[in-house]
Amino acid sequence: MRLRLPDGTVRTGRAIDLSSERLDPNEVVDAVRTDSGRDADCTDSAPDTGLCIECPEPGPGYDRLARIPAPNSPLSRGELLVAVGRSRELATPVDDDLARLEARLLEREPDSDENTATLPAPSASDLREARRRVAAAGDDESRLRERVATLRGRLNAHREADDEEAAAATQSELVEVATELSEVETERVAAKQRLDALERAARRARDGREERLRIRDAIANRRRELRAYLSTELGDEFDATVRELVADARGPNDFVRSATSGTGNLQQTVVNGLAAVRIAELNAPVVLMRQPFTDLETAVQWLGTPVITC
């Protein structure tokens, strides 16, 4: 492994100690992911000013195992063993199902480029505006309808009273209001049609969401089965490796420094992470935040991978 620091310093070897450099471990893992496998050129003449790492390409499982302890929440035994299984490219009975479901989910994602068949879902504010228009047009319509009924009544009264002049005035007002009413009716019908169309589109979008939820549930079930399967396949080996490490931290000092482990008890998440890396098939360097081994060479030997400490 060959590593160039932002200041241009170049380090090489299977184990590199960066603990004095105050680097963000995430940045180191990112550099491994982006630089390795491509023809990274981390010579000091390279123009790039950031961190650069030449190393074997990280294989499957590396994402989960690259940092010890894992960032955010600690990984469960099952999650670690899935990563170990991936790194070894172990075949499992759920692989086919899982791949098929994941592909189905991917092609149903609304923002997927291939998925041009699904129209965008109408926004909540579009729907609200359409409902408001229907309601407003409906109110106008009933107001005008009442007005037409009143004018009709008045017109009849004027005619019965033989008041020609008043009847003519009412008649012309009635024509005006009736015209307005028919316009508002047209408006309401148009507003209703638009709302119906939006609601149909919203329903189609919900169909899609429901389908995606169903697939996600199925994926979660398959992943649970995957964890259970790999726990059975790899559990004994993992537990034995954990015991080996814990026993060494407590017992006669062999490869684990008791100083780092404080009272002699290594933090369980660190122990689990280290054990998983040991039984995994990783080629790319792992990044250790806490280094419990007597020296870095021992760490490399025990873990079977290149090591960077931060």
Binding site: R131, A135, A136, E199
Partner: protein, 112 residues
């Protein structure tokens, strides 16, 4: 739409079978209930379900909810204002004090 709710294992099984064979009638499925489209076929299926399972089947007719026709303006505004309140810990009873928004008990007694 027609909301069909079942209250026994047997009725639920029949509903599930209907949903499986009449995909185009079913708008949405939820466990032991389903929303059917507003068609004669949907009504026919719902009625057959009720004929078969009697009191174990509830059928309701639903309609789209338009808050601008159904809900008085103060209630709509109160909902919007409360959801954009500054402090998420403020209960509604405290939030309405000194405002024109209706209290929960006022709203409880008024029919929509």
């Amino acid at each position: 739409m027609l909301l069909v709710v079942t209250y026994s294992q047997a009725a639920r099984t029949t509903l599930r079978n209907i949903c499986r064979t009449h995909d185009n009638v079913v708008v949405r499925r939820f466990g032991r209930a389903a929303l059917f489209s507003e068609t004669e076929l949907a009504a026919f299926l719902a009625l057959r379900l009720r004929e078969k399972h009697d009191a174990d089947v509830q059928i309701e007719r639903t309609e789209p909810f338009n808050e601008f026709t159904a809900v008085p303006e103060p209630v709509r505004e109160a909902a919007a204002a409360y959801e954009s309140r500054d402090s998420s810990a403020t209960p509604y009873s405290k939030f309405v004090v000194g405002t024109d928004y209706p209290s929960a008990s006022e709203m409880r007694d008024r029919e929509l």
